[in-house]
């Protein structure tokens, strides 16, 4: 994006949907000036929303200070304050929202509510340089295929039950080898393929039957073979639905977003599929693949330019904010 120094906009963005409290600063010329992230790690077990929220409140001031220092920016230089408004855990979201409201009010700057899933996609477009991709979004508990069509990111396909990442994590844990990437590492030593339920409905997928069937085979067949079978089946289902979505949406780029994008085998499969259609594949690099403040700041820049800001009284968090409920007006401006 070409913007002269004079009309360059700076937005500070706050991410706080789950484990991560992050603060990023981005400019309208597409520069990430700061990206400071603190991750809450529970002592044991899964995330407890209220404890994560307490962690976020404790760390907020420090993260803000560090981000401003990293960017070499004074609060008064900022043109907008963005925060992740959803989807996510209510108590966590409220911390980010409260901090953002306070800064916006204090500075008299516009407040910008960003959809967390949209932000994952937008930072991916910025960093990889792809323009109009079909997106395989395999972050957190999500598995969906989406693409920008007519004003929004539309959901072309998704899981009908559990997420692909969950399926492989649960399998690995129950098999005693731990979550991903362990199942994929074991799969490399697999030799025999056992057929498992392969459930594809149009562009939708379903993994729960496959998981149950694989767990039943535990102890009956070689673990390496089972790992090979489950990873190959899950990845084939994702690649096939992605292939169908690519044809359906008539796009030429593929963007992988989220944790499973780190899987070498999945990436290899998708690249082979893309070759058949002369499509290009992009993956978000690890630094920006997890939840982070920079993605909220950058999406905040886009929304500020497109006039998608919020009044304080409309800024309640939306824990169940679906991707396709968010308008993407900047895309209509060609951004």
């Amino acid at each position: 994006m070409a913007a002269s120094k004079l009309d360059e906009k700076l937005v500070l963005g706050i991410e706080s949907t789950a484990h991560t409290f992050g603060v990023g600063i981005a400019s309208s010329s597409g520069k990430i000036l700061a990206n400071v992230n603190y991750v809450y790690r529970p002592r044991e077990g899964g995330i407890h929303p209220r404890e994560a929220a307490q962690h976020h409140s404790r760390i907020a001031a420090k993260a803000l200070r560090e981000a401003l220092e990293q960017a070499g920016v004074k609060p008064i230089d900022l043109d907008g304050i963005a925060f992740s408004i959803g989807p996510g855990m209510g108590p966590c979201l409220r911390v980010g929202a409260t901090v953002a409201r306070a800064i916006a009010l204090r500075l008299g700057k516009p407040l910008i509510g960003v959809n967390h899933s949209v932000a994952h996609i937008e930072i991916g477009r910025l960093i990889t340089g792809c323009k109009d991709p079909v997106v395989l979004y395999v972050a957190g508990g999500n598995t969906m295929i989406t693409s920008y069509i007519d004003g929004r990111y539309r959901i072309l396909g998704e899981t009908l039950d559990i997420a692909a990442g969950n399926c492989l994590d649960v399998f690995g844990i129950k098999a005693g080898i731990g979550p991903m990437p362990a199942p994929e590492e074991y799969a490399r030593r697999g030799e025999r393929f056992h057929s498992l339920p392969y459930r594809v409905k149009g562009m939708d997928v379903s993994f729960s039957g496959l998981l149950t069937a694989a767990l039943k085979l535990l102890g009956e067949v070689r673990l390496e073979d089972l790992c090979l079978s489950i990873t190959e089946t899950v990845y084939s289902m994702l690649t096939e639905t992605l292939e169908r979505a690519l044809a359906y949406a008539e796009k030429e780029e593929i963007l992988l977003v989220g944790g499973l994008a780190r899987s070498r085998r999945l990436m290899e499969m998708i690249e082979e599929m893309a070759k058949l259609h002369d499509a290009k594949v992009y993956a978000v690099p690890p630094e920006y693949a997890g939840d982070n403040g920079a993605m909220i700041a950058w999406t905040g820049v886009l929304q500020l330019i497109a006039g998608q800001t919020l009044r304080i009284e409309d800024s309640r968090v939306r824990p169940r904010f679906r991707l396709d409920e968010a308008e993407a007006r900047w895309r209509m401006l060609g951004l």
Binding site: L160, D161, K201, L228, T233, T239, R322
Partner: protein, 231 residues
């Protein structure tokens, strides 16, 4: 292991005239055999898939599609007739339908025509469902429209012979979402006429049970804003 045959294998019959569609899983070609026009649907090997899995998927879907088309024709649902099946090549030879994908023309049709087609489609799908078949990939690219304004269903590779309400409801969910994502301005009017037509063929009670099921699918974690509203 399957040997890596070229896409146009030496065993194909007839003379290939043109490739009509390169779909995600199959290549559809128009061909002529002893003066007879037809199409071939060749499920091509996917190099990205584990070979055994690939062969199994292609063979199963070819065989399955043939079975489903046979039962649909028996039910009087317009779809291309099967002329030949060649399992060794994962290829079906089918009746040629001279028409276009509904997806390509739907947005440019007059409103009354959209409603008429939606109603007609509703009747077809209602009849298909009462006959125990779920399409499995019911989007506007898998519906053909010919010059006379007749609709045909195509591509049954993901279909199921079933009377499980859930599988049938997924069809409605997929159709609705394909409208939402690609023809969203027409979605409301289209679905209204579609459901009217569906009720005519399948009965109001059946339709209501089905709609409940569609709502349930949509509320299952993913369509979460709707789930919240229900509570």
């Amino acid at each position: 292991m399957e040997d890596a045959r070229p896409i146009e294998g030496g065993m194909m019959i007839g003379e290939k005239l043109e490739v009509i569609r390169i779909g995600a899983e199959a290549i559809i070609s128009r061909l002529e055999w002893n003066g007879f026009k037809m199409v071939s649907k060749h499920r091509v090997p996917k190099p990205y898939r584990f070979p055994e899995l690939d062969r199994w998927i292609r063979d199963r879907r070819t065989l399955h599609e043939a079975r489903v088309i046979t039962s649909l024709r028996r039910l009087g649902i317009p779809c291309p007739a099967i002329l030949l099946m060649d399992r060794s090549e994962a290829t079906l030879y089918l009746q040629l339908i001279e028409g276009v994908e509904l997806k390509k023309v739907l947005d440019s049709l007059p409103a009354e025509e959209v409603e008429r087609l939606a109603n007609e489609l509703g009747r077809m799908v209602g009849r298909m469902h009462r006959g125990g078949v779920a399409h499995g990939d019911l989007t506007t690219s898998n519906i053909m429209l010919d010059r006379m304004g007749n609709l045909y269903l195509i591509d049954f590779g993901l279909s199921a012979i079933t009377d499980d309400l859930e599988e049938l409801a997924v069809d409605i969910h997929l159709l609705d979402r394909s409208l939402e994502s690609v023809h969203h301005r027409l979605r409301a009017a289209f679905m209204r006429s579609f459901l009217k037509g569906y009720a005519t063929a399948a009965g109001m009670d059946f339709l209501q049970a089905l709609i409940e099921k569609v709502k349930e699918i949509r509320s299952r974690g993913r369509y979460v804003e709707e789930r919240r509203k229900r509570h």
